[in-house]
């Protein structure tokens, strides 16, 4: 239970910190970089290192490459869909999470699982 609480606080603090950095930078296209900051990754890796060591975290980082490619597909699709039509941003951003899952799952099946 204590470990989960530490994960919650560390992850929440890093996400909130990068979000505040995104709030204070201009131009806003630059501030958008912080929406894809490695906040969850850093919190998870720092806490996992103590328990499992570098080799374990290195394996996580290798799989993270596939997640990052899926993240690129996600944000590019959100921008493209909003650019093409008069759609409301929030439903588009939520619905496109399915695409992230699909690309990550395909990457898992093709590249990560066989390793």
């Amino acid at each position: 239970m204590g470990e989960l609480a530490i994960r919650f606080v560390a992850g929440g603090a890093l996400v909130a910190l990068f979000a505040v950095m995104g709030d204070i930078f201009t131009p806003k296209s630059f501030a958008g970089l912080f929406a894809a900051a490695p906040s969850v990754a850093l919190a998870t890796m720092l806490l996992t290192l103590h328990q499992h060591g570098s080799a374990y975290v290195s394996t996580e980082a290798r799989s993270m490459m596939v997640g990052a490619v899926a993240f690129t597909a996600y944000t590019s699709t959100v921008a493209w869909v909003l650019h093409r039509g008069r759609r409301r941003p929030t439903p588009v951003a939520v619905a496109a999470l399915v695409l992230w899952g699909a690309v990550a799952a395909a990457g898992w099946a093709l590249f990560v699982r066989p390793l």
């Binding site: 470990e3 989960l4 994960r7 929440g12 996400v15 909130a16 979000a19 709030d23 204070i24 201009t26 131009p27 806003k28 296209s29 630059f30 958008g32 970089l33 929406a35 894809a36 900051a37 490695p38 906040s39 969850v40 990754a41 998870t44 890796m45 720092l46 996992t48 290192l49 499992h52 570098s54 080799a55 374990y56 975290v57 290195s58 996580e60 980082a61 290798r62 799989s63 993270m64 490459m65 596939v66 997640g67 990052a68 899926a70 993240f71 996600y74 944000t75 590019s76 959100v78 909003l82 008069r86 941003p89 929030t90 951003a93 999470l97 992230w100 990457g107 898992w108 990560v112 699982r113």
Partner: protein, 142 residues
């Protein structure tokens, strides 16, 4: 275009928005930890690049922009801001890929206190570099 620091948006943002980001960030980090424990580091690693905070960030941005907009530009202003946010985030994801590559390579070869700061620097350098290239080609707005 110059990159500047401007703290005034912090006065416009609400505490509930910051608390929501904290709570979602914390919950996602816990969920990633539990999922990795139940499966493997190979499977859990995928979730280290989950766009957990983007939908909430876009929702908060759209709400703020709709509040600022006049009656004739309500939806348009929010959508335009969301496009800029998502386009910027796309550049950030290239940095995230660099973060993963550097962390994967260096964690296997050197100490973690060198590997993780180096990976974070790689994220910042690649994300900012991608943003600059896109901006200098004139294809990004904002």
């Amino acid at each position: 275009m110059k990159i500047k620091l401007d703290a005034s948006p912090l006065r416009e943002s609400s505490w509930s928005g910051h608390l929501l980001r904290f709570a979602i960030g914390g919950l996602v980090t816990v969920a990633v930890g539990l999922f990795t424990k139940m499966t493997s580091p190979k499977a859990g690693g995928l979730l280290l690049a989950i766009p957990s905070i983007v939908p909430l960030g876009i929702a908060l941005l759209a709400r703020l922009q709709n509040k600022k907009a006049g009656p004739h530009s309500r939806g348009d202003r929010a959508r335009h801001a969301a496009i800029i946010e998502a386009t910027g985030a796309s550049m950030g994801t290239l940095g995230l890929l660099a973060f993963a590559v550097v962390a994967w390579q260096l964690l296997a070869r050197t100490r973690a206190w060198i590997a993780l700061p180096a990976a974070t620097l790689a994220w910042a350098a690649v994300a900012a570099g991608a943003w600059y290239v896109r901006k200098s080609r004139g294809s990004a707005s904002g």
